[in-house]
């Protein structure tokens, strides 16, 4: 009995890694029809597959087009499984606000970060691209977000990240929020320089780091 479930979870994960959206939908339906728990299908099937895809990306087996297709498969599977979630079974999620800073409309990196954050269990509010500094602060305040993720692919707009960090200080919110920065021109030394909490060169690593940093902050606060 449990062998069938294990097999379906493995197939779900594999269909995501293999970018086979139609297969993912079919297996997700089988999974529900067999009476298994939707939450498990998401976390041990779809998210596990996306995590594996993220690793292949880190290892330079997969690149951005492949990763985007994996995420399409994952979301297609989510659409099947989500309606079957029993509400109280989902753990409380940390909220995150992500966006591309003002002056830049390139959002590939931000989209990948969002996908990987959702995979690791965040509830993500996406402000989109070309976002003025104040909007990050307002939305984080409104949602009680624990994480702000700032992205840019352009060297000419990197400065706007520092402006967001400084605005958080002015608003007295800096200690309540983890700030992550990322994107092509961003480096650890840049993150340190502007006083961000975290940086990682790849979206999947960044998402794991985000979770660690937010958990760390929460534990300190408690």
């Amino acid at each position: 009995m449990s062998n069938v479930k294990e097999k379906l979870l493995k197939d779900l994960a594999e269909s995501v890694v293999d970018m086979e959206e139609d297969d993912t939908i079919e297996i997700a339906n089988d999974f529900i029809e067999s009476g298994y728990d939707a939450y498990e299908g998401i976390s041990n099937g779809l998210a596990a597959g996306m995590d594996e895809a993220g690793k292949l990306y880190e290892e330079e087996e997969y690149y951005i087009p492949e990763l985007l297709m994996c995420s399409d498969a994952m979301y297609a599977g989510m659409d099947v499984l989500k309606p079957h979630l029993k509400y109280d079974e989902t753990e409380e999620k940390y909220k995150a606000v992500v966006g591309v800073v003002e002056g830049d409309t390139h959002d590939i990196g931000k989209n990948l970060f969002k996908i990987m954050l959702e995979t690791t269990g965040f509830e993500v509010y996406d402000l989109g691209r070309d976002v003025p500094p104040g909007e990050f602060i307002n939305k984080a305040k409104e949602l009680g977000a624990k994480l702000i993720g700032l992205s840019t692919l352009m060297t000419t707009t990197m400065d706007n990240m520092e402006i967001v960090v400084n605005l958080l200080k002015e608003e007295g919110m800096r200690d309540d929020v983890v700030v992550m920065v990322g994107g092509g021109p961003i480096s650890q030394s840049f993150a340190d320089k502007i006083g961000a909490d975290g940086y990682a060169p790849e979206a999947s690593r960044a998402a794991r780091l985000a979770k660690d940093l937010v958990r760390g902050k929460m534990n300190v606060a408690v």
Partner: protein
């Protein structure tokens, strides 16, 4: 000609062809590799965003950089949106310190490429760029004028949502190639017009079409051939030669870089000059002072980084990417000074 009396233009032409020079030139092409900073806007009293749509202002700004001890070239435009806008994208021109950007895509899929407009050389900002080049040409014959082109993948992904574009390279390769052909033909017409207007050199930047994003297979299939198509279409007409700038990590595509037909390869600060020199043997090497350092650090740190680049063997000294408009002029001047003070003794000449 005697190498101790080279004009800025002659020096850059020689460096591009990997001929002997008195010292490396220090340039920043324009386009994606932005050279315009607030300090220059204040000196010339010409500002963004107005300068993006006025040829006189555009020419005045880039001349202001060179005339105030900045980079040793002229280059226009100052953004990556002129081509896409002419083909139907809606562009927001930004502010004094934020560059223009595409805010609305004209198509939703590679299959819709035939709904795009042909790039129009007779009106709009394509014409502004061409007129600016004509002005620059009439102003000086000793300073090299660099025409800039947004690369085929970056132009294509400015015409539709990039996330969908990248996926469709895999899902709909046939239509994606048709789309790329259309984009490339239009880019060629703009490149040729810029050269005809008086540009000496063509520089192509394709920040969305890198090996780091696409991986080696798709880079080879969708980036390299179309870059080469442009280079080969203008080769006979462009007096000074061609530059291709590749952003991001190069590791996955080192093997393919030799197959690019440009005279110069320019690259990000994340790639090491020595490693590029070891892997690319048929091009002049241009780079790669960290733009972050140029913007955030002091003139002496920039000086050290620039010296490091020259020591490692760059033929042409340049920033690694576009510089932020809030960069201080003194940092750029310090970089140019390094080039001016270095002598041919410091320069590693290639034996070929």
């Amino acid at each position: 000609m005697p190498i101790n009396s080279l004009s800025k233009k002659e020096r850059l032409f020689c460096a591009i062809k990997r001929e002997k020079v008195d010292r490396p030139p220090c340039i920043c092409p324009g386009g994606m590799m932005n050279m315009i900073i607030e300090d220059i806007m204040d000196i010339t009293k010409v500002e963004w965003p107005e300068a993006h749509k006025d040829p006189e202002m555009m020419a005045k700004l880039t001349m202001g950089v060179c005339e105030n001890g900045g980079f040793e070239n002229f280059g226009v435009p100052f953004c990556m949106t002129v081509e896409a806008e002419s083909m139907g994208a809606i562009v927001g021109l930004g502010t004094k310190i934020n560059e223009p950007r595409v805010i609305e895509y004209p198509i939703n899929s590679v299959t819709e490429w035939n709904k795009l407009k042909e790039l129009d050389l007779t009106k709009g900002r394509t014409k502004v760029v061409l007129d600016a080049i004509k002005i620059l040409k009439s102003e000086s014959s000793d300073i090299p004028i660099i025409a800039n082109l947004v690369g085929p993948v970056s132009t294509a992904s400015s015409l539709m949502e990039p996330v969908d574009y990248y996926k469709e390279l895999r899902r709909k390769p046939k239509e994606a190639h048709e789309f790329m052909e259309f984009v490339t033909e239009n880019l060629i017409s703009f490149a040729k017009a810029q050269i005809q207007a008086g540009a000496d050199i063509l520089s192509i930047s394709d920040p969305s079409g890198t090996g780091e994003i696409l991986g080696p297979k798709l880079f080879k299939e969708f980036a390299a051939p179309y870059l080469n198509k442009i280079v080969n279409a203008v080769k006979e007409d462009v007096p000074g030669g061609t530059i291709i700038h590749i952003c991001g990590k190069l590791k996955s595509v080192y093997g393919i870089l030799n197959s690019l037909d440009s005279d110069v390869i320019s690259f990000d600060s994340i790639a090491s000059v020595k490693e590029v020199a070891n892997n690319v043997n048929n091009k002049a090497i241009m780079g790669n002072v960290s733009t972050l350092a140029i913007e955030k650090s002091s003139p002496d740190i920039v000086e050290n980084l620039a010296k490091g680049c020259i020591k490692s063997g760059v033929d042409i000294l340049s920033p690694a990417c576009g510089i932020g408009p809030r960069t201080k002029l003194e940092n750029i001047q310090s970089m140019v000074e390094v080039a001016k003070e270095s002598t041919s003794k410091n320069i590693v000449l290639k034996s070929s």
